[in-house]
Subunit: 236 residues, 2 copies
DNA sequence: ATCTCATAAATATATAATATAAATAGGCTA
DNA sequence: TAGCCTATTTATATTATATATTTATGAGAT
């Protein structure tokens, strides 16, 4: 136990973070004090405090003298933090959460494609999208990992828009796609996303066709959403 | 110095976080070591380490033995963390960043309105939107704060959609709207946003008119964007 | 009885001293 | 030149102790 990660603080952070997100410490039930955690994990007080501070920074807990540490309501958790997201997806790999994630994608990605199309003069960024598309083709022929190629394609679009907020969402999308698909491999269809659908997006962006790019992304995501909804109604 | 915030660790975290985001520590220039920071702020090693861990959790820095602490490239900063966002906006209250933020809103908020319209049976959440709208009317007559009412309205829509990710964005939108408008009060027009524009959004959501709700939000945000673009081209 | 104020207890906060481990740079050897 | 020591730097980790903050308790006054 406690031996994944770079150092003790990180290990404890991940262990506690995962446990909290998993609901192991209910919001009303008492959370262990610093002293108890140190004892329980056989670890020094400083390490415990540092881990507590990291989880505090991510919005999972808060601590005050005399009151101890308490778990914050999940509304306060920073879901856009890659760690928190990955703990959440691993703890409860529910189709419901996957649906919510896809709804977010349906907001973000069409607009990201619009921004990319607006910025289609930046040849380096266009090339990055094209390269990812090429990887997808190679993956179709069995010479590359289809999931990685797919993720890279969507991230390249997010990066192409000259917008720091969209750029930042790459890691988020990356983690969510990888984790959620890994844990719900029943949705195999998402993996083998059509090359042609993606090529349509790429072509529209390169042509500077904002409306077309947006539409093409929406079409793709609606297919994903439909798959999820079918699975939600009639779970296998 | 160092007396805002709950405890020493938080104070140091905010001070260093703001300084980093402000570019006070360039990414290539050496960052002070733990020992130097402790000396410089006349503070114990533990407090320094805890602050470093909090900033690490937010993606601003990373630390390794022998190498010390280094500032991460800004692409790695967790911009969706309320602290990081507020430091950034306060450090560089640029119209450019405001434009990027509004582009993000144009992705998020129309879809949020769609989800809210989809979920229009939840009377408590509909009431929350209605209450915020009422506050806006009162603000128009000078009996309430127009900015707070405006923010509350948009956050109520984000909360109405039964989607954890959109819900999480409330704090983000809240901070960004408050800070950016506070520092760019030249855009007074954003403050006195038309009551009628907002009422149209509310009505469409209540009626379950997804398309109409989306359109109404887009119209509102396009006005904001136009104002920003005008200011960007011809700064006052 | 109820209110107020002092006291006590619990817990995080903060400091300090010391030891260990990891990573790098530089020099040494082959 | 390549590979291997060795020294050094720096974060990492432990431990002991002291302080501050908040809540609960109880005594005394009204």
């Amino acid at each position: 136990m406690l031996d994944t990660g770079r150092n003790l603080t990180h290990q404890l952070t991940h262990q506690l973070g995962a446990a909290i997100v998993q609901g192991q410490y209910a919001i009303d039930k008492p959370f262990p004090t610093e002293a108890e955690l140190s004892l329980q994990f056989n670890i020094s007080r400083s390490v415990t405090r540092e881990a507590v501070k990291m989880l505090t920074a991510k919005g999972l807990i808060a601590s005050r003298p005399r009151q101890g540490i308490r778990v914050m309501p999940s509304a306060h958790w920073n879901m856009f933090d890659a760690d928190v997201l990955s703990w959440t997806l691993n703890a409860r790999p529910s189709l419901e959460l996957l649906r919510e994630f896809t709804q977010l994608r349906m907001a973000i990605e069409p607009e990201a494609a619009v921004l990319a199309a607006e910025n289609n003069k930046d040849s380096a960024k266009m090339k990055a999208i094209g390269d990812a598309l090429a990887r997808m083709k190679r993956a179709d022929e069995g010479h590359d990992d289809p999931l990685s190629a797919d993720i890279e394609f969507h991230c390249a679009i997010l990066a192409a828009g000259n917008n720091r907020f969209f750029f930042q969402l790459r890691e988020f999308i990356q983690v969510a796609l990888r984790v959620s698909i890994a844990s719900t491999n029943q949705l195999k269809g998402v993996l083998t996303a059509d090359y042609d659908d993606h090529k349509r997006i790429y072509d529209a962006i390169c042509a500077g066709d904002q409306e077309g790019a947006s539409k093409a992304v929406k079409t793709l995501l609606q297919e994903v959403m439909q798959l999820i909804n079918v699975s939600l109604v009639k779970p296998t």
